[in-house]
Symmetry: C2
Subunit: 166 residues, 2 copies
DNA sequence: GTCTATAAACTGATAGAC
DNA sequence: GTCTATCAGTTTATAGAC
Protein backbone atom coordinates (compact mmCIF):
# COMPACT_ATOMS: atom_id res chain seq x y z
CA UNK A 1 0.00 0.00 0.00
CA UNK A 2 2.86 2.38 0.79
CA UNK A 3 4.35 1.77 -2.65
CA UNK A 4 1.12 2.14 -4.55
CA UNK A 5 -0.70 4.93 -2.77
CA UNK A 6 1.98 6.46 -0.53
CA UNK A 7 2.07 6.97 3.20
CA UNK A 8 -1.05 9.04 3.25
CA UNK A 9 -3.11 6.55 1.33
CA UNK A 10 -1.94 3.61 3.43
CA UNK A 11 -4.68 4.05 6.03
CA UNK A 12 -5.80 1.28 8.35
CA UNK A 13 -9.03 1.11 6.37
CA UNK A 14 -7.16 0.66 3.08
CA UNK A 15 -4.69 -1.88 4.50
CA UNK A 16 -7.48 -3.92 6.10
CA UNK A 17 -9.49 -3.97 2.87
CA UNK A 18 -6.43 -5.10 0.90
CA UNK A 19 -5.67 -7.81 3.45
CA UNK A 20 -9.25 -8.99 3.30
CA UNK A 21 -10.07 -8.30 6.94
CA UNK A 22 -12.00 -5.58 8.71
CA UNK A 23 -10.31 -2.70 10.49
CA UNK A 24 -11.09 -4.31 13.83
CA UNK A 25 -9.58 -7.57 12.60
CA UNK A 26 -6.39 -5.82 11.51
CA UNK A 27 -6.09 -4.08 14.87
CA UNK A 28 -6.37 -7.42 16.62
CA UNK A 29 -3.12 -8.58 15.00
CA UNK A 30 -1.38 -5.20 15.24
CA UNK A 31 -2.58 -3.21 18.27
CA UNK A 32 -1.92 0.10 16.52
CA UNK A 33 -0.52 1.55 13.33
CA UNK A 34 2.96 2.00 14.80
CA UNK A 35 3.15 -1.77 15.44
CA UNK A 36 2.35 -2.38 11.78
CA UNK A 37 5.16 -0.02 10.78
CA UNK A 38 7.56 -1.72 13.20
CA UNK A 39 6.81 -5.10 11.60
CA UNK A 40 7.57 -3.66 8.16
CA UNK A 41 10.88 -2.22 9.35
CA UNK A 42 11.91 -5.51 10.96
CA UNK A 43 11.18 -7.27 7.69
CA UNK A 44 13.23 -4.71 5.75
CA UNK A 45 16.11 -5.10 8.19
CA UNK A 46 16.14 -8.89 7.91
CA UNK A 47 16.09 -8.82 4.12
CA UNK A 48 18.83 -6.20 4.04
CA UNK A 49 21.09 -8.29 6.27
CA UNK A 50 20.58 -11.28 3.98
CA UNK A 51 21.54 -9.07 1.05
CA UNK A 52 24.77 -8.03 2.75
CA UNK A 53 25.74 -11.66 3.22
CA UNK A 54 24.94 -12.36 -0.42
CA UNK A 55 27.08 -9.42 -1.52
CA UNK A 56 30.06 -10.68 0.43
CA UNK A 57 29.98 -14.10 -1.22
CA UNK A 58 28.87 -13.07 -4.73
CA UNK A 59 31.16 -14.68 -7.36
CA UNK A 60 30.92 -11.62 -9.68
CA UNK A 61 32.01 -9.35 -6.83
CA UNK A 62 30.08 -7.13 -4.43
CA UNK A 63 30.00 -4.09 -6.74
CA UNK A 64 28.51 -5.86 -9.75
CA UNK A 65 26.11 -7.80 -7.53
CA UNK A 66 25.00 -4.62 -5.80
CA UNK A 67 24.21 -2.72 -8.99
CA UNK A 68 22.36 -5.68 -10.47
CA UNK A 69 20.37 -6.03 -7.27
CA UNK A 70 19.30 -2.40 -7.46
CA UNK A 71 17.08 -3.13 -10.48
CA UNK A 72 13.47 -2.91 -9.54
CA UNK A 73 12.16 -6.43 -9.97
CA UNK A 74 9.30 -6.28 -7.51
CA UNK A 75 11.14 -8.64 -5.18
CA UNK A 76 10.73 -8.60 -1.38
CA UNK A 77 13.81 -6.47 -0.67
CA UNK A 78 12.97 -3.96 -3.38
CA UNK A 79 9.46 -3.62 -2.09
CA UNK A 80 10.58 -3.30 1.53
CA UNK A 81 13.17 -0.74 0.54
CA UNK A 82 10.74 1.52 -1.29
CA UNK A 83 8.02 1.08 1.33
CA UNK A 84 10.47 2.07 4.06
CA UNK A 85 11.51 5.05 1.92
CA UNK A 86 7.95 6.29 1.96
CA UNK A 87 8.02 6.30 5.74
CA UNK A 88 11.43 7.97 5.95
CA UNK A 89 10.11 10.77 3.80
CA UNK A 90 7.40 11.72 6.22
CA UNK A 91 10.17 12.20 8.76
CA UNK A 92 9.60 8.90 10.55
CA UNK A 93 12.75 9.07 12.66
CA UNK A 94 13.07 5.38 13.52
CA UNK A 95 12.90 4.54 9.81
CA UNK A 96 15.58 7.15 9.07
CA UNK A 97 17.91 5.62 11.68
CA UNK A 98 17.53 2.12 10.26
CA UNK A 99 18.10 3.32 6.74
CA UNK A 100 21.30 5.09 7.70
CA UNK A 101 22.62 1.95 9.40
CA UNK A 102 21.91 -0.30 6.43
CA UNK A 103 23.38 2.18 3.94
CA UNK A 104 26.53 2.35 6.05
CA UNK A 105 26.87 -1.43 6.05
CA UNK A 106 26.45 -1.62 2.30
CA UNK A 107 29.11 1.03 1.82
CA UNK A 108 31.55 -0.85 4.05
CA UNK A 109 31.26 -4.04 2.03
CA UNK A 110 31.69 -2.13 -1.23
CA UNK A 111 34.70 -0.22 0.11
CA UNK A 112 36.53 -3.46 0.90
CA UNK A 113 36.34 -4.47 -2.73
CA UNK A 114 36.45 -1.17 -4.60
CA UNK A 115 38.08 1.42 -2.40
CA UNK A 116 36.37 4.51 -1.00
CA UNK A 117 35.80 6.58 -4.13
CA UNK A 118 34.41 3.88 -6.36
CA UNK A 119 32.39 2.34 -3.53
CA UNK A 120 30.65 5.65 -2.99
CA UNK A 121 30.02 6.04 -6.71
CA UNK A 122 28.50 2.57 -6.87
CA UNK A 123 26.28 3.12 -3.88
CA UNK A 124 25.03 6.42 -5.24
CA UNK A 125 24.29 4.83 -8.61
CA UNK A 126 22.33 2.14 -6.84
CA UNK A 127 20.44 4.77 -4.81
CA UNK A 128 19.76 6.59 -8.06
CA UNK A 129 18.24 3.45 -9.55
CA UNK A 130 15.96 3.11 -6.53
CA UNK A 131 15.12 6.78 -6.65
CA UNK A 132 13.94 6.49 -10.22
CA UNK A 133 12.08 3.28 -9.56
CA UNK A 134 10.34 5.09 -6.73
CA UNK A 135 9.28 7.94 -8.97
CA UNK A 136 8.18 5.95 -11.96
CA UNK A 137 6.66 3.16 -10.00
CA UNK A 138 3.72 4.81 -8.33
CA UNK A 139 1.48 2.18 -9.84
CA UNK A 140 3.41 -0.66 -8.24
CA UNK A 141 3.72 -2.77 -11.37
CA UNK A 142 7.17 -3.86 -12.55
CA UNK A 143 8.99 -1.36 -14.73
CA UNK A 144 9.92 -2.03 -18.31
CA UNK A 145 12.44 -4.79 -17.69
CA UNK A 146 14.31 -4.51 -20.99
CA UNK A 147 14.86 -0.80 -20.47
CA UNK A 148 16.06 -1.19 -16.90
CA UNK A 149 18.37 -4.05 -17.84
CA UNK A 150 19.93 -1.89 -20.54
CA UNK A 151 20.50 0.89 -18.02
CA UNK A 152 22.16 -1.48 -15.59
CA UNK A 153 24.41 -2.85 -18.34
CA UNK A 154 25.32 0.74 -19.03
CA UNK A 155 26.35 1.30 -15.40
CA UNK A 156 28.28 -1.97 -15.29
CA UNK A 157 30.30 -0.92 -18.33
CA UNK A 158 31.28 2.27 -16.52
CA UNK A 159 32.21 0.26 -13.43
CA UNK A 160 34.43 -2.08 -15.47
CA UNK A 161 36.06 0.88 -17.15
CA UNK A 162 37.07 2.45 -13.85
CA UNK A 163 38.22 -0.80 -12.31
CA UNK A 164 40.49 -1.37 -15.24
CA UNK A 165 42.04 2.02 -14.59
CA UNK A 166 42.27 2.32 -10.79
CA UNK B 1 6.77 22.30 4.92
CA UNK B 2 6.95 19.30 2.58
CA UNK B 3 10.69 19.01 3.24
CA UNK B 4 10.48 19.36 6.98
CA UNK B 5 7.33 17.46 7.90
CA UNK B 6 6.48 15.51 4.75
CA UNK B 7 3.37 15.51 2.62
CA UNK B 8 1.16 14.48 5.45
CA UNK B 9 2.32 17.20 7.79
CA UNK B 10 2.00 19.89 5.15
CA UNK B 11 -1.64 20.62 5.92
CA UNK B 12 -3.35 23.88 5.03
CA UNK B 13 -3.35 24.75 8.73
CA UNK B 14 0.40 24.22 9.03
CA UNK B 15 1.20 26.06 5.80
CA UNK B 16 -0.99 29.01 6.78
CA UNK B 17 0.62 29.25 10.23
CA UNK B 18 4.10 29.16 8.68
CA UNK B 19 3.14 31.82 6.15
CA UNK B 20 1.74 33.99 8.91
CA UNK B 21 -1.84 34.00 7.67
CA UNK B 22 -4.98 32.20 8.70
CA UNK B 23 -6.33 29.22 6.80
CA UNK B 24 -9.04 31.40 5.29
CA UNK B 25 -6.39 33.89 4.21
CA UNK B 26 -4.35 31.17 2.54
CA UNK B 27 -7.39 29.86 0.69
CA UNK B 28 -8.07 33.34 -0.61
CA UNK B 29 -4.76 33.29 -2.50
CA UNK B 30 -4.95 29.62 -3.51
CA UNK B 31 -8.55 28.47 -3.94
CA UNK B 32 -7.69 24.91 -2.93
CA UNK B 33 -4.75 22.71 -2.01
CA UNK B 34 -4.26 21.47 -5.55
CA UNK B 35 -3.67 25.07 -6.69
CA UNK B 36 -0.95 25.41 -4.08
CA UNK B 37 0.69 22.22 -5.35
CA UNK B 38 0.43 23.43 -8.95
CA UNK B 39 2.25 26.64 -8.00
CA UNK B 40 5.05 24.61 -6.42
CA UNK B 41 5.39 22.44 -9.52
CA UNK B 42 5.51 25.47 -11.80
CA UNK B 43 8.26 26.92 -9.65
CA UNK B 44 10.21 23.66 -9.77
CA UNK B 45 9.84 23.52 -13.53
CA UNK B 46 11.10 27.07 -14.01
CA UNK B 47 14.14 26.51 -11.79
CA UNK B 48 14.92 23.22 -13.53
CA UNK B 49 14.84 24.87 -16.96
CA UNK B 50 17.26 27.54 -15.72
CA UNK B 51 19.53 24.76 -14.47
CA UNK B 52 19.54 23.09 -17.87
CA UNK B 53 20.67 26.32 -19.50
CA UNK B 54 23.39 26.72 -16.86
CA UNK B 55 24.58 23.15 -17.51
CA UNK B 56 24.91 23.78 -21.22
CA UNK B 57 27.15 26.81 -20.75
CA UNK B 58 29.12 25.65 -17.69
CA UNK B 59 32.88 26.14 -18.29
CA UNK B 60 33.79 23.00 -16.31
CA UNK B 61 31.43 20.92 -18.44
CA UNK B 62 27.86 19.72 -17.91
CA UNK B 63 28.85 16.54 -16.03
CA UNK B 64 31.01 18.20 -13.40
CA UNK B 65 28.52 21.05 -13.04
CA UNK B 66 25.65 18.61 -12.61
CA UNK B 67 27.30 16.57 -9.87
CA UNK B 68 28.37 19.68 -7.98
CA UNK B 69 24.84 21.05 -8.26
CA UNK B 70 23.45 17.90 -6.69
CA UNK B 71 24.92 18.81 -3.31
CA UNK B 72 22.21 19.79 -0.90
CA UNK B 73 22.87 23.45 -0.21
CA UNK B 74 19.36 24.49 0.69
CA UNK B 75 19.08 26.51 -2.51
CA UNK B 76 15.78 27.11 -4.33
CA UNK B 77 16.21 24.31 -6.86
CA UNK B 78 17.28 21.79 -4.23
CA UNK B 79 14.31 22.66 -2.09
CA UNK B 80 11.87 22.52 -5.00
CA UNK B 81 13.33 19.21 -6.09
CA UNK B 82 12.93 17.54 -2.71
CA UNK B 83 9.53 19.09 -2.09
CA UNK B 84 8.31 17.79 -5.45
CA UNK B 85 9.76 14.40 -4.57
CA UNK B 86 7.55 14.27 -1.51
CA UNK B 87 4.52 14.74 -3.71
CA UNK B 88 5.65 12.18 -6.28
CA UNK B 89 5.98 9.64 -3.49
CA UNK B 90 2.36 9.85 -2.52
CA UNK B 91 1.56 8.91 -6.11
CA UNK B 92 0.73 12.42 -7.25
CA UNK B 93 0.61 11.62 -10.95
CA UNK B 94 1.05 15.13 -12.33
CA UNK B 95 4.22 15.51 -10.24
CA UNK B 96 5.51 12.18 -11.56
CA UNK B 97 4.98 13.29 -15.14
CA UNK B 98 6.87 16.54 -14.65
CA UNK B 99 9.73 14.77 -12.91
CA UNK B 100 10.13 12.31 -15.75
CA UNK B 101 10.27 15.14 -18.28
CA UNK B 102 12.94 17.09 -16.40
CA UNK B 103 15.04 13.97 -15.78
CA UNK B 104 14.91 13.21 -19.49
CA UNK B 105 16.11 16.71 -20.38
CA UNK B 106 19.00 16.50 -17.94
CA UNK B 107 20.05 13.16 -19.39
CA UNK B 108 20.01 14.55 -22.92
CA UNK B 109 22.38 17.39 -22.06
CA UNK B 110 24.72 15.00 -20.24
CA UNK B 111 24.68 12.53 -23.13
CA UNK B 112 25.87 15.20 -25.57
CA UNK B 113 28.99 15.66 -23.51
CA UNK B 114 29.66 12.26 -22.02
CA UNK B 115 28.00 9.65 -24.19
CA UNK B 116 25.11 7.43 -23.13
CA UNK B 117 26.78 5.16 -20.58
CA UNK B 118 28.61 7.79 -18.58
CA UNK B 119 25.71 10.24 -18.80
CA UNK B 120 23.46 7.69 -17.20
CA UNK B 121 26.04 6.95 -14.51
CA UNK B 122 26.35 10.66 -13.72
CA UNK B 123 22.61 11.20 -13.53
CA UNK B 124 22.17 8.22 -11.25
CA UNK B 125 24.96 9.45 -8.99
CA UNK B 126 23.25 12.81 -8.80
CA UNK B 127 19.92 11.15 -8.04
CA UNK B 128 21.67 9.16 -5.34
CA UNK B 129 22.96 12.35 -3.76
CA UNK B 130 19.43 13.75 -3.68
CA UNK B 131 18.08 10.48 -2.40
CA UNK B 132 20.44 10.55 0.56
CA UNK B 133 19.83 14.24 1.21
CA UNK B 134 16.14 13.44 1.28
CA UNK B 135 16.59 10.69 3.83
CA UNK B 136 19.00 12.46 6.13
CA UNK B 137 17.42 15.84 5.81
CA UNK B 138 14.08 15.38 7.48
CA UNK B 139 14.86 18.31 9.73
CA UNK B 140 15.35 20.68 6.82
CA UNK B 141 18.66 22.13 8.02
CA UNK B 142 21.67 22.01 5.74
CA UNK B 143 23.66 18.77 5.86
CA UNK B 144 27.23 18.58 7.07
CA UNK B 145 28.82 20.56 4.27
CA UNK B 146 32.36 19.26 4.71
CA UNK B 147 31.19 15.66 4.53
CA UNK B 148 29.02 16.21 1.47
CA UNK B 149 31.78 18.15 -0.29
CA UNK B 150 34.19 15.26 0.30
CA UNK B 151 31.67 12.83 -1.17
CA UNK B 152 31.21 14.97 -4.25
CA UNK B 153 34.99 15.23 -4.70
CA UNK B 154 35.02 11.46 -4.53
CA UNK B 155 32.46 11.19 -7.32
CA UNK B 156 34.28 13.77 -9.43
CA UNK B 157 37.49 11.73 -9.20
CA UNK B 158 35.65 8.71 -10.52
CA UNK B 159 34.19 10.80 -13.33
CA UNK B 160 37.62 12.11 -14.32
CA UNK B 161 39.03 8.59 -14.24
CA UNK B 162 36.44 7.31 -16.68
CA UNK B 163 36.70 10.29 -18.99
CA UNK B 164 40.41 9.75 -19.24
CA UNK B 165 39.74 6.19 -20.30
CA UNK B 166 36.77 6.34 -22.65
C1' DG C 1 -7.76 41.22 1.80
C1' DT C 2 -7.91 38.64 6.01
C1' DC C 3 -10.36 36.75 9.74
C1' DT C 4 -13.61 33.39 12.59
C1' DA C 5 -16.97 29.83 12.58
C1' DT C 6 -18.55 25.86 10.88
C1' DA C 7 -19.76 22.06 7.70
C1' DA C 8 -18.65 17.48 5.75
C1' DA C 9 -15.65 13.85 5.29
C1' DC C 10 -12.02 10.96 6.96
C1' DT C 11 -8.61 8.63 10.33
C1' DG C 12 -6.92 6.03 14.25
C1' DA C 13 -8.54 3.67 17.96
C1' DT C 14 -11.89 1.42 21.47
C1' DA C 15 -15.86 -1.45 23.08
C1' DG C 16 -18.39 -5.12 22.84
C1' DA C 17 -21.20 -8.75 20.01
C1' DC C 18 -20.68 -13.27 17.87
C1' DG D 1 -10.26 -14.53 15.89
C1' DT D 2 -13.06 -11.39 13.32
C1' DC D 3 -16.84 -8.38 13.02
C1' DT D 4 -19.90 -3.92 13.59
C1' DA D 5 -20.69 0.37 15.88
C1' DT D 6 -19.01 4.33 17.55
C1' DC D 7 -15.99 8.17 19.44
C1' DA D 8 -12.76 11.90 19.38
C1' DG D 9 -9.61 14.39 16.72
C1' DT D 10 -8.15 16.09 12.00
C1' DT D 11 -8.43 17.98 7.44
C1' DT D 12 -10.20 20.34 3.45
C1' DA D 13 -13.24 23.65 2.16
C1' DT D 14 -17.17 27.08 2.51
C1' DA D 15 -19.84 31.15 4.39
C1' DG D 16 -20.03 35.31 5.99
C1' DA D 17 -18.29 39.12 9.31
C1' DC D 18 -15.06 43.02 9.47
Amino acid sequence: MLIEVGERGATLDAVAARAGVSKGGLLYHYPNKEALVAALLDRFDTLAQEEIEAMKTAPEGAGVYFIKAAIWDGGPLDRSFVAATRLAEVAHSETQRRFARIQKQWLEVLTEELGEDLARAVRYMSDGLYFNAMLENGGGQAMDRAKTDAEVESLLRVLELVRGRS
